[in-house]
Amino acid sequence: MLSADVVGSTAAIGYGLAAIGPGIGVGLVFSAYIQSTARQPESSRLTLPYVWIGFAVIEALALLGIAFGFIWQGQL
């Protein structure tokens, strides 16, 4: 009878789950940008700042996951 110990923090699993949402969100931002640029190439410079703002705002969610993982380390 072999017994295996699984050690570590469930926070790692939690962060993996938490990264799904921002992953989909960032994908949507860039897919929308690529589509709009393909349809109307001259609008690419106009929409680029909004791409980065949207990307940054969505990505913040994933990064909050990293930060809170360390903030609440060993407290819950």
Binding site: P49, W52, I53, F55, A56, V57, E59, A60, L63, L64, I66, A67, F70, Q73
Partner: protein
């Protein structure tokens, strides 16, 4: 610990932890409980000194046909002024261009320290530095908004009360307050901090992972080499993130200022 001297020892502290960001103190040399003067402090002063000296020297004798130094300084300033300030804020953006350029250069340089050999840690991977920068942006957009709308309370009314039917306002005002005055500075600080923190952590995992595997078992040597090659690839990715985060911080500050001095929602 591992930051100031990585040695080929058998006892490589493998899973890197938050402790790796607290480098040993420099002035009382090597102590671990005093954080007043560390590599982080040195890098901060280095960044400030480089920026001041570089911009002073490159613009000391401005020439009509710019020298290389002057060309670089001018193109950084031109990029921030035209592609960030004026594009986000509009014609009034020119007056914010000096601050935004300083912010952009400072964040870019501080982040770059994360991948420069022998420096290899960004001060921005400690939340204190992004937090102060975010507080400056926060105070700035509130001040600019209050000045533009003729008073703090008028600005709050403009920022918090959107033109909507009255019965939806009890729902909208708390949401606006939460997103504009609480989430903005917090996310600004945490975004920059977490990117630098995670980037440094990632490089540590792959570098130290290589050492840990090679010292655990000689048969793991090929995997160690793969791990180190990946470190190099990740350093290029990190370079991308560094430039992107400096840009994003500046663009977001500009867009907050733009939101504060807009005349309609």
């Amino acid at each position: 610990m591992t930051g100031q001297s990585i040695v080929l020892a058998a006892d490589v502290p493998f899973p890197p932890s938050v402790e790796d960001f607290y480098l040993p103190s420099i002035l009382p040399w090597g102590t671990h409980d005093s954080y007043w003067f560390t590599k982080i402090t040195v890098l901060l002063w280095l960044a400030v000194a480089i920026l001041i000296v570089y911009f002073l020297v490159s613009y000391r004798k401005p020439q009509l046909v710019p020298t290389k130094k002057q060309w670089l300084a001018e193109s950084i300033y031109g990029f921030v002024r035209n592609n960030i300030s004026v594009e986000m804020i509009g014609p009034r953006g020119v007056q914010f261009a000096p601050y935004l350029t300083t912010l952009f250069c400072f964040i870019l340089l501080m982040n770059l320290f994360g991948i420069v050999p022998f420096l290899q840690i960004s001060p921005n991977s400690h939340i204190a530095f992004p937090a102060v920068l975010a507080v400056i942006s926060y105070v700035m957009f509130i001040y600019v908004g209050a000045k533009h709308h003729g008073g703090f309370f008028k600005y709050m009314r403009f920022a918090l009360v959107p033109p909507a039917p009255w019965f939806i306002l009890p729902l909208l005002i708390p949401i606006e307050f939460f997103s504009t005055f609480m989430v903005r500075p917090f996310s600004l600080a945490v975004r920059l901090f977490a990117n630098m923190f995670a980037g440094h952590m990632l490089l540590l995992v792959f570098t130290l992972g290589g050492f840990a595997m090679i010292s655990a078992n000689a048969w793991f040597t090929p995997f160690s080499i793969v791990s180190w090659v990946l470190t190099i690839a990740l350093t290029f990715l990190e370079f991308l993130v560094i430039c992107l985060q400096a840009y994003v911080f500046t663009v977001l500050t500009a867009s907050y200022v733009q939101g504060a001095i807009a005349d309609e929602h």
